[in-house]
């Protein structure tokens, strides 16, 4: 794991990384309209980071993205998720109440019920929770693979 792969694989991974991340964020942001959601989109984004880890040297990857950044992604996602759920209580609703739905503000557009082409600015707190879970899953899965790869490379150097 301490060696990088050939230049062809590295270039392909660099190009594919951008498309994978954009596709993952598309899945996260459209979670309330199309199949998918926070978990699936976060897993897709984490796949992009794992592709970079596999194709490049681990030290190069750690030069671009710090472990601390993924830990912060993980924590901020979980805090944002619970905070969105708790924010309903000061407004006079119950825990996990969808208090933004249909209010006309952020994500509060009133949808025409029935079959519609899908509007991004709808569904109240659901997109916010999707984004939170997406950030959390992207940080969590990436940091798991990062820790395992660090263990492998450390073991190989020790032998």
């Amino acid at each position: 794991m301490s060696d990088s792969m050939s230049k062809i694989i590295r270039t392909t991974a660099d190009v594919m990384f951008m498309f994978i991340v954009v596709f993952g964020f598309y899945i996260v942001l459209h979670g309330h309209l199309t199949p998918g959601g926070g978990f699936q989109g976060g897993a897709v984004i984490a796949t992009g980071f794992i592709l970079l880890i596999v194709a490049h040297k681990l030290d190069d990857f750690l030069g671009w993205f710090k472990k601390k950044a993924f830990q912060n992604f993980e924590m901020s996602g979980l805090v944002l998720f619970i905070g969105t759920a708790l924010a309903a209580i000061p407004l006079g609703y119950l825990f996990f109440r969808n208090f933004l739905c249909g209010t006309g503000g952020l994500f509060g557009q009133v949808v025409p019920y029935g079959i519609n082409p899908g509007f991004l600015n709808t569904a109240g707190t659901i997109p916010i929770m999707n984004i939170a879970v997406g950030i959390e899953v992207l940080g969590g899965l990436s940091i798991i693979i990062l820790y395992m790869t660090s263990g492998i490379s450390n073991h190989e150097e020790g032998e």
């Binding site: 979670g31 309330h32 309209l33 199309t34 199949p35 959601g37 926070g38 978990f39 993980e74 996602g77 979980l78 998720f81 619970i82 759920a85 996990f96 969808n98 739905c101 249909g102 509060g108 557009q109 009133v110 949808v111 019920y113 029935g114 519609n116 899908g118 709808t122 569904a123 109240g124 707190t125 659901i126 929770m129 999707n130 879970v133 959390e136 899953v137 940080g139 969590g140 940091i143 798991i144 820790y147 395992m148 660090s150 263990g151 450390n154 020790g158």
Partner: protein, 94 residues
């Protein structure tokens, strides 16, 4: 010999599982009140076109909260298990 035994086991298992899968009636749940409620009122109450997401993040939000905590715990466990240790550092037991 081992190949024959493995093949027979595979065939028996496949037939048993396929028989079980075919014999289950598909599309006729005994209790469908909850499904009908979600399908009828889901879009109106949450504003989301995707009923699955509206269930996962709204009606059954606690389940997703637990799932997020499970993922956090998994990351915590992996980070403890794969902790990088210095060469000379040794654990002290008291």
């Amino acid at each position: 010999m081992r190949t024959v035994v493995a093949g027979i086991t595979l065939v028996v298992l496949a037939v048993a599982l396929l028989y079980a899968a075919v014999s289950i009636p598909f599309g006729n749940p005994a209790m469908s009140d909850m499904d009908d409620y979600f399908i009828t009122n889901g879009q109106e109450q949450t504003g989301a076109n995707n009923i699955v997401t509206s269930i996962v993040f709204d009606y059954r939000g606690f389940d997703t909260l637990g799932e997020a905590c499970v993922l956090f715990t998994a990351v915590f466990g992996v980070s403890v298990l794969f902790r990088l240790r210095k060469k000379e550092e040794d654990y002290e037991y008291e």
